[in-house]
Symmetry: C2
Subunit: 219 residues, 2 copies
């Protein structure tokens, strides 16, 4: 079993090289790419759905969806934008190779913002670069306020942390101070937006964050 670490390192190094190439491709087509990561059930698809609804009138969007099955993709396709299913082959994360394959069905030059929905997992997706410009991590109130302490690697690589399901704050023992202290301890420069995909509270702040990113790129 001692061989496992070198194999893992080699896979990661190959992946990172391909991720660099992908980012060059995104830069050439002037496409901003965000990689959205979270636990299963944290609300990735619900948040992406809300964001697309608000952003699609201003920008041209596309989504790569890294789910094991195609339930979420159907919800996103109803928004009438290009949605590609990344074939993960049962893997617990997306890698750069899967993104490269998914891009075959997306005309990048027409896209301002490409949203990648990673596989629901707080560990492995943090290790596989996809060529994205920004990483967004979604946590949610019922998961508990200890998540940044338990999964530091995921929060370390985040540019933006979203805390979803704030509508459940009053009925759980979630400690907001502990959570905020936790993300700042791991990653002092991270942006942070609490929100509820259910009620819509806070979604406009994410729309602004993404719009600023895309506008800068386009200008």
């Amino acid at each position: 079993m001692k061989k496992r670490i070198p194999i893992k390192k080699q896979i990661l190094s190959e992946n990172d090289k391909l991720a660099q190439k992908l980012q060059k491709k995104f830069d050439t087509s002037n496409t901003i790419v965000v990689n959205i990561m979270a636990s299963p059930g944290a609300g990735k698809t619900s948040i992406i759905y809300q964001l697309i609804k608000q952003l699609k009138t201003t920008y041209s969007l596309a989504v790569i969806d890294g789910d094991v099955v195609d339930i979420d993709i159907k919800k996103l396709q109803s928004l009438d934008i290009p949605v590609a299913l990344a074939n993960t082959g049962g893997a617990c994360h997306l890698d750069a190779y899967m993104i490269k394959k998914s891009l075959q069905s997306i005309k990048l030059h027409d896209i301002d913002l490409l949203i990648i929905e990673n596989v629901g997992n707080l560990i492995c997706p943090a290790n596989f670069k996809l060529g994205s410009h920004k990483n967004i991590v979604i946590a949610s109130i019922p998961e508990g306020s200890d998540k940044p302490y338990k999964y530091p690697q995921m929060f370390l690589g985040a540019d933006l942390v979203l805390l979803n399901k704030t509508d459940l704050l009053s009925v759980t023992d979630f400690d907001m101070q502990q959570f905020e202290k936790g993300i700042k301890r791991v990653n002092n420069s991270v942006s942070y937006i609490p929100l509820s995909a259910k009620t819509g509270v806070g979604i406009s702040n994410v729309v602004t964050w993404l719009s600023t990113l895309v506008s800068k790129k386009l200008s």
Copy 2:
């Protein structure tokens, strides 16, 4: 990248051989072993904590904890039973090799029930056998009722499904019928117990399920 599948198959096959050996070891020492799997934040540690409190007066227990950090292990150690931290090296699942290493600090012949708390992840833990006699999968209300449809592999391998955080049922749009239909569709023979680790409702049913298992083995 084409080489990845054979490497994965080889690792799984080596793992399964070791898992078989481990199960023989557990049978020799008359120890029932359960492998508990769930998403991050579904409530694995809280449920295990409640179960141990009720079971430890009747049986001798031990826990192997597969977390990335040692937050949960401290909570479980307060219960005054043997708790071993499985060194996952950042991996997103436990494997049989990690269990073998962890067993070095547990006197199996003294233990009736060994509870393995797997890494928080709904994908990879399903692929790595640990030699356990039964697999328990925990889902939770706020994760949504579509989980058995999205992560079928995990539910397919379960002997018992626990649905935690039923105290949040009235404040979410969780569809109990959809969930129950989902687990039965994937796995018609699975046992199923809804509960709340917070209020304690349903915990006694899991205590009974485990007690029956251990009693059969000891008799």
